[in-house]
């Protein structure tokens, strides 16, 4: 059984220093099994300026078993699948310790963005490029960040406007857009089903 009171506390703890870390964890559903994590792309990397969204599912044994995480935002990185967003990170597997939290795990993922380990790749194509043609790797990663991990604030306001005009309350529109990472269609779907 998931220790929900711990998850609850983790979320509170995380929201306290959101300004400093930029890491955000929000529940997708009411039952705290399914969450969304947001990490800012580390400064000085091709991911800088991007906002990366991860899908988090807590297993029954949490926190004694590691949380399941994968990127929803597309990322070009040797240890992250460019297809599925699966992450190759030891602490999410056998090196998980119950003393770690969702926030520390997300910090580790952020650290992984800064320090790829191309010798232990999740995505062989990206890893090959990282090792053999680093310049192309950097520009591809930057391009992906630009295309998938950035939503201009203007764009967001336009989407909010559009959805509000359809008759949904503004606060609900904003929170829904945030959950789905700014995807207008997904937000609409969600609003309609709620």
């Amino acid at each position: 059984m998931i220790d929900f009171s711990r998850v609850q506390k983790e979320l509170q703890e995380c929201s306290k220093d959101i300004e400093a870390s930029g890491i955000k964890v929000t529940p997708v559903s009411d039952n705290l099994v399914h969450l969304t994590g947001i990490i800012p792309g580390p400064v000085g990397t091709p991911y800088e300026g991007g906002t990366f969204r991860l899908d988090i599912t807590l297993p029954d044994g949490y926190p004694f078993e590691p949380p399941k995480m994968h990127f929803v935002t597309k990322v070009w990185h040797p240890n992250i699948s460019s297809q599925s967003g699966a992450i190759c990170l030891d602490i999410l597997k056998d090196q998980w310790s119950p003393a770690l939290t969702l926030k520390t795990a997300l910090l580790s993922v952020q650290a992984l963005l800064s320090a790829p380990a191309p010798d232990d790749p999740q995505d062989a194509v990206v890893a090959q490029q990282y090792l053999k043609d680093h310049q192309t790797f950097l520009s591809t990663a930057r391009y992906w960040t630009e295309s998938f991990a950035k939503t201009s604030s203007l764009g967001v306001e336009e989407k909010v406007q559009k959805l509000v005009e359809m008759g949904f309350p503004e606060s609900q529109v904003r929170s829904t857009l945030e959950i789905v990472g700014g995807d207008e269609n997904m937000a609409l779907e969600k609003l309609l089903s709620s």
Partner: protein
């Protein structure tokens, strides 16, 4: 050395197996036989210290304690710490000693994740009466906190949860502390105590896992591979390739856990058993006799006629190259289609597949034949028992006087087994592929002749021994029995000797000269595969 010629027979036996000091003087037939018997078939193995032991369910604890106590005494450790250490070093006490000498106690312990610190309990170091557990973030009283040897403390409920997850993951033997990057192994007594409070079944399971570690994590101990499992494990005292017999009667190779297969090497046996099991030869047959239709991919068998074949789906194709063709053809050519060069290659391939199938059948049939006769001969003992009873009834003879007969049968069984396995050995040894870069064709032929000479001599003697043992001795008079006794004993000795020579030839001349020595065989034992001794400390 000497030569013995029996009075009324022409059997010649060489006694050059007496390479030790026990020269035998022949006085008369009776003593002769008795001495021969003693020398050739000693009932108790000369080395009274057995090199393998059976570990039963009951003796497992005692066997494990033996090693634990050695380490506990040596390093003045508690039992659970000694166990952590031994699990890490695969129950190899010598290895523990070697690491201790080379790196010192601290490194020895650290490598195994063993931390022995005189930690103060939280109670003495903490002033406040409650403490916030770093896992569940709940405030708990001090009684509900457990500190591990590494000094990290968390609440009991979190520890228990952690242990349960790890036990269920099958990691009972290496449950580390919950702290991130702490590799310390948790104290098994604390694990046991906490888990038992929550789930006593799981605690039992944990205990069993810990106990069985002695078998599963131990390079000198292996489960007996019997099916259904007899519950025993075997421990060997000397770390070398050998074959053993479990108390349940199963004989197996200690290295690969398959049936005893010497003089085949483990690698050869693995290849052979797979070859016999799967249909690789059938696959060969298919390669020779069938082809895929280029249209519907069904296998088509040619049932005569020319090289233009048509599949049941209607597609005509060329039998030689397998390509789709038109249906217009003559006896020698197909309109618009030619595959001349291809044809030659194909025929060669077919030829070689055929040859390799024939070669396999040659060896396989001999291997099977000897295993079959071995099965028939196993009934021999029963028949003999009956015949001896008949003799007992009409004379003063007792079954004790026929020990030589049973020894002869045992020799026959052992030799027959070796002979059977020598065929798959030869199949791989003299097969061009496996040792292609080890010897030239000429060398291979020479070695094959050498081996086959010995093998054939061995085989001839086995058949002769089999025929002796099959004689209707219950109809014989006393002199005739005496004669049979001498013949059986002497021939047994010769067979034993030939078998030893065959092993020697394989070990030194054939396998010994290889550069890559992946092929090793268990040494020959004149008394057959060693029976592992039963534990003497069963009651302790």
């Amino acid at each position: 050395m000497g030569e013995y010629r029996s009075s009324d027979d022409d059997y010649d036996y060489d006694y050059d197996y007496y390479d030790d000091d026990d020269e035998v003087d022949f006085v008369d037939d009776d003593e002769n036989a008795a001495e021969l018997e003693a020398a050739v078939e000693p009932e108790i193995p000369p080395n009274s210290c057995p090199s393998s032991k059976v570990i039963t369910k009951e003796s497992l604890l005692a066997a494990q304690m033996e090693d634990l106590i050695r380490v506990m005494d040596l390093l003045s450790l508690k039992e659970q710490h000694a166990r952590t250490l031994l699990i890490h070093y695969r129950w190899d006490v010598e290895k523990v000693l070697a690491v201790l000498v080379e790196y010192g106690k601290e490194r020895l312990f650290a490598k195994a994740g063993l931390t022995i610190v005189e930690t103060d309990d939280v109670s003495s170091s903490q002033v406040s009466s409650s403490y916030c557990c770093n896992i569940c973030f709940d405030d708990v009283s001090l009684e509900e906190i457990t500190t591990m040897d590494c000094g990290h403390y968390f609440c009991n409920s979190c520890w228990t949860e952690h242990f349960i997850v790890k036990i269920n993951e099958g990691q009972s033997r290496r449950i580390t502390c919950m702290e991130h990057k702490c590799n310390a192994i948790c104290d098994e007594s604390k694990i046991r105590c906490l888990v038992r409070a929550r789930n006593s079944d799981l605690a039992d399971k944990f205990d069993r896992f810990m106990l069985e570690s002695y078998i599963e994590d131990n390079k000198r101990v292996k489960w007996c591979p019997s099916v259904p499992h007899c519950g025993n494990a075997i421990r060997i005292e000397v770390d070398e390739l050998r074959e053993v017999e479990c108390a349940c009667g199963l004989q197996f190779c200690f290295r690969c856990s398959y049936e005893a297969h010497s003089p085949c090497s483990c690698y050869m046996w693995d290849l052979w058993s797979k070859k016999c099991q799967d249909e690789s030869e059938t696959v060969n047959y298919i390669a020779v006799h069938t082809k895929h239709c280029p249209k519907c991919q069904k296998l088509v068998e040619k049932n005569g006629g020319c090289n233009l074949v048509s599949c049941i789906c209607g597609q005509p194709f060329c039998w030689l190259c397998g390509a789709a063709t038109g249906s217009d053809h003559t006896w020698t050519s197909i309109a618009g289609h030619s595959c001349g060069r291809y044809k030659e290659d194909r025929e060669k391939e077919t030829e070689s597949a055929k040859r390799s199938l024939e070669r396999y059948i040659h060896y396989y049939s001999r291997y099977e034949a000897h295993r079959d006769s071995s099965k028939l001969e196993s009934k021999m003992k029963e028949t003999m028992q009956d015949n001896i009873k008949i003799l007992e009834e009409c004379s003063t003879a007792s079954s004790k006087d026929f020990v030589w007969l049973f020894n002869g049968v045992d020799r026959l069984f052992r030799s027959r087994r070796v002979l059977a396995y020598s065929y798959p050995f030869a199949y791989y040894m003299f097969d061009g592929d496996l040792f292609a870069d080890e010897m030239t064709k000429g060398e291979r032929e020479m070695k094959q002749n050498l081996f086959e000479d010995q093998q054939q001599q061995f085989e001839a003697n086995i058949e002769k021994l089999s025929s002796f043992l099959d004689e209707k001795f219950h109809l014989y008079n006393e002199d005739e029995i005496k004669d049979l006794k001498l013949r059986v004993i002497a021939l047994s000795a010769t067979t034993d000797n030939l078998c030893r020579n065959l092993y020697e030839c394989i070990e030194t001349d054939l396998l010994g000269s290889l550069k890559h020595s992946v092929h090793k065989i268990a040494p020959y034992n004149t008394n057959g595969i060693e029976k592992a001794s039963l534990p003497s400390y069963q009651d302790t």
